[in-house]
Symmetry: C2
Subunit: 214 residues, 2 copies
DNA sequence: ACTTGTTTTGTAATAATATTA
DNA sequence: ATAATATTATTACAAAACAAG
């Protein structure tokens, strides 16, 4: 019922072509898989009958496949290729050009989504690593604290029995443990308008390693 | 020079309207800020005269503003609002619906780009923090190592004088220092490809998801 | 500078499908 | 099940930015 105006951009491509009326509007795919529900209401555009005589739409699968393949080889489209394709497919060169424009735009979008998801994975992985590192820092600090305690004890027992110096490193270590957490203030501060490189990280193999820690 | 076919979808909206031919194609914006270079070639579309009589294009600023405002309030569009807008703007309700559809799509894309840039910043910040933490871990390990050395020395002097146990924590600490660095293998590994800029950093708004894993 | 041709970006419209009331 | 709306993908046009010539 639909697809009435098969006569469309006809005569756009006034090249001589054996296939006659060019495979433009192509009802194609005669199957009609799922008739489902068509938009029957408000068959707008038909109001005044011979109106809207421009039902453009849908290049045939053949055409799209060819274009797609061509696009795969090279996203750019030189006049040469354009005209060749147009001839081969029975399309207006203009249509070929437009198709490529739109295809590039689509491609760009898809790429963005892709990169987003990659970045997300990378971010998650990095965040997790950061967490683990934080945990490790805490653990190390505790161990260090223990060690320092131990040293205090040992030194104390030393003091009553014999007298061993070796104080230089010791006090240093102590300080590190007692002092402010070493981090926390100086964080960024110097990394402001400065930029530096960071591995783009596309796909960090996986997060499988996580299972070892969770 | 351009904008020839002002006569367009006229009669599409056959509602009665005082503004006559509806403010469709609108040359509008008489300013002509930057005339620059116009596309003068191939004024296609007019080829065979009454062909392609669908030069649609460009709702007036008025119309767009209204639509935009309406969209700001609510991305969804109920029949009611649709019809109201259509009447107010002198458009076919269909056009209003289409406008909203396209607007939603555009919005989605913009949002994606936004989120991408946010995520990138967050990732950069996290990466930096991770680096700092790695540094800290190394430093702490070194300190711990020093402390352990100290303990060994003290214990040795002890052995000749008195005998202090306190072995449990001690051996644990030792192990931590001697053992594989806990990290260090799974590091990165895939960070070789391309790189991207890391400006700023600061403000990681949301790492809340972490709590789900820890 | 001026023209010509192409790419990018944004907008309008159509169609097919999915969702929902 | 049906009709209205939403979503997704396509086709097309136009304007601005660029690049040769």
């Amino acid at each position: 019922m639909n697809h009435l105006n098969i006569e469309d951009h006809i005569m756009l491509t006034s090249h001589l072509y054996s296939s006659g009326p060019y495979t433009q509007i192509v009802p194609q795919q005669g199957e009609y898989k799922k008739p489902k529900r068509r938009r029957n209401k408000k068959c707008r555009g038909g109001e005044s009958g011979a109106f809207d005589a421009h039902k453009k739409r849908k290049l045939s699968d053949e055409q799209v496949n060819m274009l797609e393949q061509s696009f795969g080889n090279e996203h750019k489209l030189e006049s040469e290729r354009k005209d060749k394709l147009a001839l081969e497919l029975g399309l207006d060169p203009r249509q070929v050009a437009v198709w490529f424009q739109n295809r590039r735009a689509r491609w760009k979008n898809k790429k963005l989504e892709e990169e987003y998801s990659n970045l997300k994975k990378a971010h998650e992985a990095t965040t997790l690593e950061k967490c683990l590192l934080e945990t490790e820092v805490l653990k190390l600090k505790e161990q260090l604290s223990e060690a320092e305690k131990e040293i205090q004890i040992l030194k104390h027992t030393d003091r009553v029995s014999s007298n061993s110096p070796s104080s230089s490193q010791q006090s240093q270590s102590m300080e590190a443990v007692v002092d402010p957490p070493f981090f926390g203030e100086f964080q960024v501060d110097g990394y402001d308008d400065d930029v530096f490189y960071v591995p783009e990280t596309h796909y960090i193999n996986g997060m499988e390693w996580i299972n070892l820690y969770i």
